[in-house]
């Protein structure tokens, strides 16, 4: 069957490359939050793979867990879960992410919503206490007993995320809790702040995203439009008065970097064409800022992406490739 030659890229190759770029993030998370990060990620990955294999068997499809898509979903779902949750929690998320959202919709390529975020959304709705309060402050290596590092004593050290502080107590409280702006920028860029397992290290996520761009797996259109929209809108509306918000704090906080580079760019659930992708990214940015500043949750990236996922089919319908030379429309006389 022609063509008889093919480019070397494969679906599995893409998935495993994306997974590889997330490994530094996972290592840093283990350093920052302890082995809990690794255990929760492993539970999440194994749950996703097992749920996918069982679902595919039950639905009479070929089992395709080696393509890496379930592994990637598992990692990404763990990365948007707070590190202080019970270890069994990702299993529930995996059923929602893989069985309901992916396999019941037709398998890989047919899901409407990002699987990892569906998992997180279901967990947030079902276990709000765990999902909004199980935060851990970065481990202080010089002070902490080994027990903390190995995962004990979570309740004793639970804390609040920067966005929660910012939303409910304002920028002054944020500075008081996390240090001067320069300290905040530095720590937030590295990832030394409370947050979900894989969302805190803006720099490593940026590096992973840039690597994927260089490899041609993702393009700049969605991440740049998403982050730029959040930056501009949080600058305009994020302060006490207009144009006094701090865009950098908003960009470096919450799950924006993870969302922009790794969730929004999911091929299946984002528009295919560059023009549609820019609108998609702007929509995610707009909804994120709206939820962060006016909504009930301090963080809005997850729901912003899920909402824009709903619009993806419409964006694909509105933005179509430019045809090279379509047939000339028939003269009006001929039509009559």
């Amino acid at each position: 069957m022609s063509p008889h030659i093919r480019l070397g890229r494969t679906t599995a190759g893409i998935m495993w490359t994306v997974i590889a770029t997330l490994m530094p993030v996972l290592l840093l998370s283990i350093y920052v939050f302890g082995f809990r990060s690794l255990i929760i990620t492993l539970v999440s990955v194994i749950s996703c793979v097992v749920v996918e294999a069982i679902s595919q068997k039950a639905l009479g499809r070929p089992v395709s867990v080696t393509d890496g898509s379930a592994v990637l979903t598992g990692i990404l779902m763990a990365f948007v879960i707070p590190p202080g949750v019970p270890y069994w929690l990702p299993l529930i998320g995996a059923v929602a992410a893989i069985f309901i959202n992916k396999e019941l919709m037709g398998g890989l390529g047919f899901n409407v919503w990002n699987p990892a975020l569906v998992g997180r959304a279901l967990l947030t709705a079902s276990f709000p206490v765990y999902m909004t309060a199980a935060w851990i402050p970065p481990i202080d290596w010089s002070q902490s007993p080994l027990g903390v590092y190995l995962g004990g004593g979570v309740d004793a050290v639970s804390t609040a995320t920067p966005l929660y502080v910012l939303r409910h107590y304002g920028l002054a409280a944020l500075l008081e809790k996390f240090g001067d702006l320069s300290v905040i920028y530095k720590n937030f860029a590295i990832g030394l702040r409370p947050g979900c397992i894989g969302e805190t290290s803006s720099l490593l996520l940026l590096a992973g995203g840039v690597f994927l761009m260089i490899r041609g797996i993702i393009t700049w259109h969605i991440p740049v439009s998403t982050i730029a929209t959040v930056a501009v809108l949080s600058w305009i509306f994020g302060g006490e008065t207009w144009f006094t918000g701090n865009p950098l704090v908003h960009v470096l906080s919450g799950g924006l970097m993870l969302g922009a580079f790794y969730m929004c760019t999911d091929y299946v659930t984002s528009p295919t064409l560059k023009s549609g992708q820019i609108v998609f990214g702007m929509g995610v940015g707009l909804l994120t800022v709206l939820i962060r500043l006016k909504g009930g949750y301090p963080e809005g990236v997850c729901y912003a992406i899920l909402l824009m996922n709903c619009l993806t089919p419409a964006l694909d319908e509105w933005f179509k490739p430019k045809r090279f030379a379509p047939p000339k429309p028939a003269p009006v006389a001929a039509v009559k």
Binding site: M1, P3, H4, T11, Y267, L273, P321, R323, A325, P327
Partner: protein
């Protein structure tokens, strides 16, 4: 030199031309037997005009098409008709063929040179028809029909396709390099037949030596008459040699969907076809020999061969030292648009531009997965179509609703499937879609 190119899509497959691009065209000794299919052109199959056991001379007419669209077929050897029966065919699977046993004692036929400038355009067109010339790029459209556009068409430019954008193939490259004067003369014959003055030869920039040779030949031949032949380098990008893309690259004119090149004042001819026209006009020699590239890493000795039409692949393979144990696929034509053939009993036809013997490392025979909507097929499609949508519609049993994606503008170049990470057979889905749209009315 910046190359001319087309506005969107296209891919850059590995060229693999290094296997044969430096090898001079070599004449393969005629085989013991030729198998000449009656269908080697677009249109109705030709009707044999010879009978079993009849003696035929090299160059004799052995099958004709009287009324319908088609082309005359000539014997490529001197010998005796052994049989007329169904035989394997490179694109049609099986087809009636005239099998001729060669007389080993017969000398090759010699043709007397003539001055084509003393003949009229009508006589030249008749010679093209009598020589059985068809488009040698692959489609095999009868050339005399293509050279007779309707009077309403205002043709002003002849475009010569020297792109040879398919990987592996180097026949047009070698012809331009070894016979540039013949190609320029053939171009002028074409210009005379068409009654126009201007021709442009488009050549991809990876064939710098061919560009130089053709530019020199065109320069030397200028000023002798009213015809001007220009050479234009083009960006190396597949499918640069596709008719619509080529016309855009060289003239910036867009042939609309459902239209033909003469709608924008252009006629396109292939390099090999032009050489055949030169031979028909200056020697009265019919088309029964073909330069073709035999390449791939599973043939012992890759080569550019001049072979008799009707030579079966097993004879060619034997002449080239045989195939390796790693032979995975045999492809008639280029690797992007060619057809896989199932055995070596298939003959070389007028339209064979090459035969590839691909090893397991060169070709992909794996299965395919679901579409992940990466969108690379949309970027690669030179026509701006949506291959992934067409495929999903066909899989969902809605192939008849794919006309809105412009599926009839798809010329099956294979760029979409080439880039597809799920290895989906997007070209085959598009073919099914076209059939289903037509069936649905």
């Amino acid at each position: 030199m910046a190359g001319a190119t087309f506005p969107r899509g296209g891919v850059h497959p590995a060229e693999h031309k290094e296997l044969t691009e430096h090898l001079a065209i070599e004449e393969m000794p005629p085989p013991q037997q030729v198998v000449i299919p009656v269908s080697m052109h677009f249109g109705a199959p030709a009707k044999p005009v010879v009978k079993k056991k009849q003696e035929v001379q090299e160059g004799d007419v052995i099958a004709t098409v009287e009324k319908a669209l088609g082309a005359t077929i000539h014997s490529s050897v001197t010998g005796v008709v052994k049989t007329i029966e169904s035989r394997p065919h490179p694109t049609m699977v099986r087809c009636d063929a005239i099998v001729i046993d060669r007389d080993p004692s017969a000398p090759p036929r010699v043709y007397e040179p003539q001055d084509w400038r003393k003949t009229t355009a009508e006589q030249l067109l008749a010679k093209v028809k009598d020589a059985g010339i068809v488009g040698l790029g692959g489609a095999g459209f009868p050339t005399h029909v293509k050279l007779s556009p309707p009077p309403s068409a205002k043709v002003d430019t002849l475009v010569l396709n020297g792109a040879e954008c398919e990987p592996y193939l180097t026949t047009d490259h070698r012809i331009m390099l070894e016979h540039p004067q013949k190609v320029v003369e053939g171009t002028k014959v074409l210009l005379k037949i068409l009654g126009i003055k201007k021709a442009v030869i488009g050549i991809e920039l990876n064939k710098a030596d061919a560009i130089n040779a053709m530019t020199k030949a065109a320069k030397e031949a200028s000023g002798q008459d009213e015809f001007t032949v220009a050479v234009q380098g083009m960006t190396v990008k597949y499918p640069q040699g596709s008719e619509k893309q080529l016309i855009y690259s060289l003239t910036q004119r867009s042939v609309p969907g459902g239209g033909l090149p003469f709608d924008v004042g252009v006629i396109v001819q292939n390099i090999s076809t032009t050489l055949a026209i030169f031979e028909a006009a200056t020697l009265n020699k019919p088309l029964y020999e073909k330069v073709a590239t035999f390449s791939g890493r599973a043939i012992k000795r890759p080569a550019n061969l001049k072979v008799k039409v009707g030579t079966v692949l097993s004879d060619v393979a034997a002449y080239l030292g045989g195939t390796t144990n790693d032979l995975t696929k045999i492809v008639s034509g280029g690797p992007m648009m060619g057809f896989a053939v199932s055995n070596l009993d298939v003959p070389i036809t007028k339209t064979s531009s090459g035969v590839l013997f691909l090893s397991s490392s060169e070709t992909d025979t794996g299965t395919y997965g679901p579409c992940i909507h990466c969108g690379w097929c949309l970027e690669a499609c030179p026509m701006g179509l949506q291959p992934k949508e067409v495929a999903i519609y066909v899989e969902a049993g809605k192939g008849h609703q794919t006309e809105k994606f412009g599926v009839f503008e798809c010329f099956e170049c294979g760029c979409c499937a080439y880039v597809c990470p799920a290895k989906r057979p997007l070209v085959q889905f598009a073919r099914l879609a076209k059939i289903q749209v037509k069936k649905h009315g």
